[in-house]
């Protein structure tokens, strides 16, 4: 009987490993495909050749020939860094303000902030586009950055995390004669480092990967982001997939790097919403 039980357990374990290995393989395969693709020419990729080729350097050279790579990277980085800096600043101030200084009217406004989480971007893009055009910001990076600066989700995330910020720290700082803005900068900011890290990852990912809105407001090639560039390379009538794969790797590397360097904060940032 004992033997029977252990046999049954082993079968369950076996099934678990087979299933998980299969799922892990499916999850990773497109990444492997991306790397293999970068080493093959476009005909081999279209024919499904799943082994490494010798076209990698040629593809890289072609990519650099077709695209002004440093400029495109600069565009993406600039938009992402400015977005992260201001979004974190504005949202953490708001989250701190809503949580520490409570008042009835502000609570009501906070409810509205939370309600805006339900608004789909599709319902905003037409009026946003018209307003941006009216103030002459079409085809500028400011047009991409501005609408994203006040993120309801990041405000919510900071308010939730501020609940764990010890009030005694504030009191002690006040006794020491610190002003409110000093408390925020010299006490709150360093104490909440991990919250900032997680929020940074959320904003970084959203901004680096943003597609629809930049697609609408950017027209000139020299302003385009890496995400826009690879999508337009891939939607050509006869896309050169070897080149596209090199571009896709380059677009994915920064987010992959952040994921592996800050895995804990990455997952924490994703889970932030349900805490």
């Amino acid at each position: 009987m004992m033997k029977n039980l252990s046999l049954k357990l082993n079968f369950a374990d076996f099934f678990t490993y087979v299933f998980l290995t299969f799922m892990a393989f499916l999850s990773i395969f497109p990444f492997i495909w991306m790397v293999i693709g970068a080493t093959n020419n476009t005909t081999d990729i279209a024919k499904g050749k799943a082994s490494f080729g010798d076209q990698f350097l040629i593809n890289v050279a072609k990519f650099f020939e077709q695209v002004d790579v440093p400029l495109i990277f600069w565009n993406s980085s600039k938009i992402t860094i400015i977005s992260c800096f201001f979004t974190l600043g504005i949202a953490s101030m708001a989250g701190y303000g809503f949580e520490v200084f409570r008042s009835k009217p502000r609570e009501r406004l906070y409810t509205i902030v939370l309600l805006t989480l339900m608004i789909p971007f599709a319902a905003l893009m037409i009026p946003l586009f018209i307003s941006i055009a009216k103030v002459g910001l079409i085809n500028t990076h400011a047009a991409i950055i501005l609408p994203g600066l006040a993120s309801a989700f990041i405000i919510f995330y900071f308010r939730q995390s501020t609940k764990a910020f010890p009030g005694e720290l504030r009191d002690a700082a006040k006794v020491d004669g610190l002003k409110e803005w000093q408390i925020f900068i010299y006490i709150y900011l360093p104490v909440m480092k991990s919250t900032y890290a997680a929020a940074f990852i959320i904003v970084f990912m959203a901004s680096w990967n943003n597609y629809l809105w930049p697609l609408i407001v950017l027209q000139s090639n020299e302003l385009k982001t890496i995400t826009l560039v690879i999508s337009s390379l891939a939607s050509a009538y006869y896309p050169d997939y070897g080149v596209v794969m090199v571009g896709t790797i380059m677009a994915t590397l920064p987010t992959l790097a952040i994921f592996f360097l800050m895995q804990r904060q990455f997952v924490q940032g994703m889970l932030g919403a349900v805490k």
Binding site: A12, Y17, F19, L20, M23, A24, S27, P30, F31, G37, I45, A46, K47, G48, A50, A94, Y96, G97, F101, S103, R106, L109, V113, T116, M118, I119, P120, A122, A123, L124, M125, I126, P127, L128, S131, L146, L149, A150, I155, F184, M205, W208, N209, Y211, I216, T227, I230, S231, A234, Y241, V244, M245, T248, T252, T255, F259, M270, L271, A273, V274
Partner: protein, 296 residues
Amino acid sequence: MSSQRAEQLGRYKNITGWMFVSPALVLMGIFMIYPILWSLWMSFQTGKGIRTKFGGFDNIVRLANDPIFIKALVNTMTFLAIQVPIMIFLALIMASLLNKSNLWARGWFRTAIFLPCVTSLVAYSILFKSMFAIDGVVNQSLMFIGIVDDPIGWLTDPFWAKTLIIISITWRWTGYNMIFYLSAMQNIDSSIYEAARIDGISAWRRMISLTIPMMKPVILFTTVTSTIGTLQLFDEVNILTLGGPSDSTLTLSLYIFNLTFKFMPSYGYAATVSYVIVLIVVILAYLQFRVSRERK
């Protein structure tokens, strides 16, 4: 005297509070509240380009008679109804398998299954487009294993194009949802499981009658976020299929985009379509609120 001081302090605190929240509130007002109200007003306007006039409910009448809109709505709801349950089911199974603390290489499995979340929607759509080409690696593999005899027209057949969109979204988001479930499962007291196991309750029954009821709030949360996400589906279809073949993968967001930026813009009608999404989201969020109220 002291009450005067308290009042003064209260007012001071109030001003500081406003200072902290006002930058965010001003930006939200400009880039959220104002546009959403404007597009509501717009949805009552008819006409093309900048020549518009008040049309009352004309746009709503047009909606009901617009076969392309109906198609986009049906497609979006089909993606929702099929993809969200499959993904949540898969994510729950994987989370419960990964929740065993003695599992070998657990961290590796978890990282691998989570990895799709790291890619941008654009990047993975491009990869899928090349993998699912007619002679691509997926068809080659399926024919090699012997599942199909002829290559599947993933990008050219209406049914398979829909399937491809569902496969793609499932690949991208299952690991994301799994992380939520895994963290919720780790918060469940393991002694409950021990007791159930000792009582001889099978793993399957433990999942159905212990795990899932306890995780109802998280499942509800992920269902609503997935639903809102799917209702806004744009990047994937715009890159994989452009809504084709013959509008079989056209989504509401893509249709709004086309109405506004591809054809001669009819802003009013596009705004009306966008309010259909708003309406569905509000209804679903209300339902979630109701269900979570009932629990208490």
